[in-house]
């Protein structure tokens, strides 16, 4: 008997190995299983479980270059998570953010830049709300969304907006570093250095990066 727990165990076993085809095949089994369970018992939990394995399948298929199938899996997961987040935002919005973020990355890699931008913008909106509610937990994901959107905007030559978002990444890490220096000070410094590089790339002075950071930090402090 091949249980869903067995599939999970084998996937964990394969995780650090180069056997990407097997990982994808097992993930497809996990999706089949989740669909069957959902057909038998349609609940929030079984829908969330199907969305989770579809999301993972999208990642696995993408690793293999099976882009069309990967996008299908990501889009189905996104659809499920949209419905779940509408019913219970507190529980499912973070997962919806993950799906939008993954889909945005994949669309960008396929050259569908406007759709990628839309996905990143939506993910960012959701993650801003989440980070407001629980900064320690959701700020790293918010920073990731800010970075992804900044990269996408760069592709549209919208450099002022790009630098503004990159500045916010630094300020978000600065806030976390203030809450827990041991955990986040290193990341904050790293992002700060990168911000100076991004400003320099667009012929802006390093001092401007520092000033932009201070201005935004002050503004966010006022807002909170």
């Amino acid at each position: 008997m091949f249980t869903s727990r067995e599939v999970e165990r084998l996937l964990a076993l394969l995780e650090p190995t180069p056997f990407a085809h097997l990982r994808a095949a097992l993930q497809q089994l996990a999706v089949q299983h989740a669909r069957r369970v959902l057909n038998e018992d349609d609940t929030t939990e079984t829908r969330a479980a199907l969305a989770a394995v579809l999301h993972s399948l999208g990642i696995r298929l993408w690793e293999l270059g099976r882009h069309r199938e990967a996008l299908d899996a990501h889009e189905e997961a996104l659809q499920l998570r949209r419905e779940l987040a509408t019913q219970n935002p507190a529980r499912h919005t973070a997962d919806l953010g993950h799906s939008l973020n993954s889909l945005g990355i994949r669309l960008g890699e396929l050259g569908r830049h406007q759709q990628a931008l839309d996905a990143f913008e939506e993910a960012l909106r959701l993650r801003r709300d989440l980070a407001t509610q629980n900064p320690a937990r959701h700020t790293p994901n918010l920073a990731q969304s800010l970075t992804n959107l900044a990269i996408a905007l760069c592709g549209f030559s919208r450099h002022d907006e790009e630098l503004e978002l990159r500045t916010e990444v630094v300020v978000r890490w600065r806030i976390l570093a203030r809450l827990d220096p041991n955990q986040h000070q290193g990341t904050y410094q790293q992002k700060r250095d990168r911000l100076a590089g991004s400003f320099a790339k667009h012929d802006r002075e390093p001092d401007e990066a520092r000033q932009a950071e201070e201005d935004l930090a002050h503004r966010l402090d006022l807002e909170t």
Binding site: M1, F2, R9, T17, P18, L22, A25, Q32
Partner: protein, 222 residues
Amino acid sequence: MIVTQVRAVLAALAGTPDRADAIRTAGIDRVATELIEHERQRWDRAAGDPRWSLPEGFTVEDREEALLALVLLAPTTFDAAVEVLRRLPLFRDKPEGDLRHLIRWAHHLYPGAGPAQVEPTPDFLRDALLAGLAQPAHAELTELLLPALSTQDGQDGAGVLTRLIRAAALFATVAPLVGTIVHNEPTLLPAAIESLVLTGPAARVVEQHLVGGDHARHVHFP
């Protein structure tokens, strides 16, 4: 490392300088072929040894098929070993005593822990023998033996898979046999994956034979 040592031994046994040079630089398949050829001569010599009382009716090919079957399925008792040989039509109607003589002969050549066990060492030799088993000449033998795994308990099947997957890491021709076993008995897929992970990237050639089939169709979720 072991291949280098085998090359050196075979080169020393080569007979002529040209042949020795060829073996020193030979690829792994050629080394395996040369090694098995030397082993065949040893099998022949041992077959003529009155201690094993091999019936004259068994041809060289019969003996080789028996030996390979015992190496592949690795039965641990005389009864199990007789059972393995009985799966092959050419031994199906032979007296049990004759089969036991064959098993003792094979055990003498490659002694395992128990009196009926046949365990070639080093691993390279076992892998080379299994690679030989994967050749078209033995297709009928593997067709008869591999489906039989489904009637054994899971542990035996897992052991066979482990041996084949390790051999496939050196000899790619063994890999399809792994796919055949899992196709016949999908419940062995987890065991195959565990062996694959333990063997590591060298066994990558096996992967396509595990995902290429329609195993999922046979997998039953509770």
